[in-house]
Amino acid sequence: MNSTLFHIVMVIGIMLAAVLIAAGLIWLERRMLALWQDRYGPNRTGPFGIFQVVADMIKIFFKEDWIPKFADKKVFVVAPAILMITILMSFAIIPFSPLIGVVNLNIGLLFFLAMSSLGAYSVVLAGWSSNNKYSLIGAIRGSSQMISYEVFMGLSLMGVVMLTGSFDLRDIVIAQKGRWFFIPQFIGFIIFFIAGIAETHRLPFDMPEAESELVAGYHSEYSGMKFGMFFVGEYLGITLISAMITTLFFGGWLGPGFLPPIFWFLIKMVGFILVFILLRASLPRLRSDQLMALGWKILLPLALINVLITGALILYFK
């Protein structure tokens, strides 16, 4: 009974923490982008403008939630929910510390890959149901992008799985004691990072949104809290990919003993979130075909070679 209660508290706590971090990222991104562009960003509401998040939330909750007459209503409503659900489901398998984590899935990594692939449905369905050519172009770009990166995203992680011999994320973290996986699996780390950027539709791979070309891409027709869900979903995605990179390549909660494990995890995660924001501040958007050429012609062969060499070395040293 007690452990059931503990689990429920854990589930709700992790969900709230993830959503709160994602909401906080709205403020953090604006501040950091401003810092890197020699500006201040929001600094009026509260200390350092931290209550900007609250103001944004109040605004977005009270906006008119309008569904266009020409939209496919049911799909239109479901699409943003799919994004939130798939990303929040992925948080279930992440081990934040030896004690904190929702489930100990023995196929955790596969579950993450499955959920991230399902997340692409929200983009496609949102663009399709909006009945708007810009949304549809965004959705088509999203699906073509998804097909390009999902392949090497999975392959880039196989090196980690081979080194550990397990799909369980807890085993992967424990196997990194003494030597984090980004040293033997540097190519895998780079490829996964690029795939992660494409997965979250962030610059330089934000072709599905592409506000300067496609109005707002697949969520052009969304307003109010439905748009807010896409918005928060994007930040949740950044948090998720940062957490995954931390878990898979940078030793998860491992670190010197003077801080509790959860702090090490959070420090590494925030570091990668900042790298995501820095990339947005510095790189221009690629063309849609450039991402696909990069994916199929360079990153997929690289990922395959990485798997091959890792496997060969593991066999050699056995």
Partner: protein
């Protein structure tokens, strides 16, 4: 590939640069003395109105935002009965200042004149008149003008000769 990494690094270094934002309401940026902002009506050194109601500013104004009516006092000195500037139309071009023959109308470095009610942007003469002399201290139009409007007697103005006694033959 290398240029991408380099641009990421350069953007990262901007973290340590000085920010260009001027935090306006707390910190005000420098406005040069010739800045064309709010329009004022100045007074001459004797604290009298400089404006003589010649309508040249109203004629020069490209958006017709100046409206006035000239009148005279008992000495024959001209002054505006009312002087009205509609700042919701004004484009701050400064043509009125250039047209003014008596340096009465002047544009000053002040732009903070926002209002919630559009009607409040119509400034009357009381709102426009200031106590000082503006950019041209010491200038008094009636001291150099040819007419006697109670400011100076005949031949008493600046750079003005005494009137010639036409009864005398000798120069």
């Amino acid at each position: 590939m290398f240029s991408n990494l380099r641009s990421i690094w350069i953007v990262f270094l901007h973290m340590f640069h000085k920010r260009v934002t001027v935090e306006y309401p707390e910190k005000k940026s420098y406005l040069p003395p010739r800045w064309r902002g709010r329009i004022v009506l100045t007074r001459d050194p004797d604290k009298e109105e400089r404006c003589v109601g010649c309508y040249l500013c109203a004629v020069a104004c490209p958006v017709d935002c100046i409206s006035l009516q000239a009148t005279e006092d008992e000495n024959g000195r001209r002054y505006p009965e009312f002087f009205r500037i509609n700042f919701s139309r004004c484009i701050f071009c400064g043509y009125c200042e250039e047209a003014c023959p008596t340096n009465a109308i002047q544009l000053i470095p002040d732009f903070e004149m926002g209002e919630y009610n559009r009607q409040n942007l119509v400034y009357e003469k009381e709102d426009l008149l200031i106590d000082g002399q503006g950019k041209y201290p010491g200038y008094n139009f009636y001291k150099v003008a040819g007419v006697d409007a109670g400011v100076k007697g005949k031949g008493e103005g600046d750079d003005e000769n005494k009137p010639v006694d036409i009864k005398k033959l000798m120069p």
